[in-house]
């Protein structure tokens, strides 16, 4: 069974034909050609496909696209503004918080949520980062990037 779903992705409206069984990540990547969202395990373990659905972090392999009909989606493509990386992205670069980069889009979306939810750096590391598997940097660089970014934000008030 196929049907049309309407999504607002990074502020831009889209309509796509999708099968009922298709997860949100596949519609983002294959229909909308927004390939910034990476698909790792397809069973909710790795967190690489994390996007924000109506502001909340969701594994886009664990939500059907038809369930997201009418929702506001944010993906990694929406973080940079006019070609300039967002501060959190810059912090990850500065602290070598990525190596192969496969998990980074999902990590960034969870961090975007944590920032808006005003979690502390410690809560973000222990609870939010726990939802992501990174097999290259081993979390040390990501942790340093979070601490650096949170400190900068605090200093900026």
């Amino acid at each position: 069974m196929t049907r049309a779903v309407s999504l607002v992705v990074n502020g831009r409206p889209y309509t796509a034909e999708t099968e009922d069984r298709t997860p949100l990540c596949d519609v983002l990547r294959h229909r909308l050609r927004l390939t910034g969202t990476h698909v790792g395990c397809e069973q909710g373990v790795c967190g690489a496909c994390t996007v924000l659905v109506d502001g909340e972090p969701v594994r886009s392999c664990l939500m059907l696209a038809v369930q997201a009909d009418g929702c506001r989606i944010e993906t990694v493509e929406g973080l940079a503004t006019e070609g300039a990386l967002a501060p959190m992205q810059q912090a990850l670069m500065a602290e070598h918080g990525l190596q192969c980069g496969f998990c980074t889009p999902g990590v960034l979306m969870s961090l975007a949520y944590a920032e808006r939810a005003r979690l502390t750096a410690e809560e973000t590391v222990s609870e939010v980062l726990a939802g992501h598997l990174c097999r290259c940097t081993g979390y040390v660089g990501i942790r340093r990037a979070i601490e650096r970014h949170w400190k900068t934000e605090e200093a900026a008030g």
Binding site: C61, L62, M63, Q67, V128, G131
Partner: protein, 288 residues
């Protein structure tokens, strides 16, 4: 890694939902938070003709507290359990346990009813439901009935829910003066899959246990009460010698071996979580 094709239905009323669920011969699977179902679909371990989304049905989520019971809608998200201030006051072991399930991202969608109906033998919340003698309310198009948690879990990923029934709410009895604790050992840090979980609930006179409830996950094909360990703990001090309690629990547990740990290791962990839960209750206590 793609689901079999299915038809997606998202009815807006409970009546319509139950009618679809009760259609004779229908191969329907209810979808709550989807955090366990979608992996099963992707792995083709579940091959439904229809996926019945419950998320648009009103009235299935929420926490209600009376003098006698804590009543929780089946579609209540784990995040809502963690964040519910009235629940923290009335039955703190529930938010404390929910906070140990997976990670924040999963808890945003995962539901209490979904966790119970998925009936993973290592899952945390089923063990709490069994320990606290929760009552699960199941509704079909024709009737409503209730089942005690200990009778609901029938085996690994198998429950007493009939195919035409939906779990609509769960009632946890309130026992004034009872202290509860949930302890688990997980595979990969705090957000990993649990190997062993234990819910310990005690009533105390001073530090002497007058009534004990123990239920564990990861020790059999379903969460189980540890009846002999309960008897052994009754009349004893929480901070006293627990050797008899631990031996009773070991004798009652029947864990299996897999690539994540041997049966012996799991038996050892069961003793560990009982000791930890008792020690924490003895020193920190918990609200009733």
């Amino acid at each position: 890694m793609k689901s079999v094709p299915f038809e997606y239905r998202a009815p807006a009323t409970l009546e319509e939902t139950l009618a679809l669920l009760g259609k004779p011969g229908a191969n329907v699977v209810p979808l709550a938070g989807g955090q366990s179902l979608l992996p099963l679909l992707a792995l083709r371990q579940v091959r439904p003709a229809t996926v019945l989304d419950l998320n648009r049905v009103p009235g299935l989520a929420g926490v209600e507290i009376t003098d006698e019971v804590v009543r929780i809608g089946a579609l209540t998200r784990l995040r809502a359990l963690v964040e519910s201030a009235p629940l923290r006051a009335a039955l703190p072991v529930l938010p404390e346990t929910a906070a140990q399930v997976a990670n924040r991202q999963i808890r945003h969608r995962s539901t209490l009813g979904g966790s119970l109906c998925h009936a993973d033998p290592t899952a945390q919340l089923p063990a709490v439901a069994v320990a606290l003698e929760a009552r699960l309310w199941l509704r079909s198009a024709r009737a409503e009935r209730s089942v005690l948690a200990q009778d609901f879990f029938a085996g690994a990923r198998t429950t007493a829910r009939r195919r035409n029934e939906l779990l609509v709410r769960v009632e946890f009895p309130r026992t004034p003066g009872r202290h509860c604790r949930f302890e688990a050992v997980t595979r990969r840090g705090r957000a990993g899959f649990p190997l062993i979980g234990l819910c310990l609930a005690v009533s105390l006179a001073g530090s002497v246990v007058t009534d004990a409830r123990l239920a564990a996950s990861g020790i059999a094909d379903r969460p189980r009460r540890l009846w002999e360990a309960e008897r052994a703990l009754t009349g004893r001090r929480l901070d006293g010698d627990l050797a008899e309690v631990l031996d009773a629990a070991s004798a009652e547990a029947d864990p299996s071996s897999d690539l994540h740990g041997s049966a012996e290791y799991r038996s050892h962990l069961l003793r560990t979580v009982i000791r930890r839960a008792a020690a924490r209750l003895a020193t920190e206590g918990s609200a009733p």
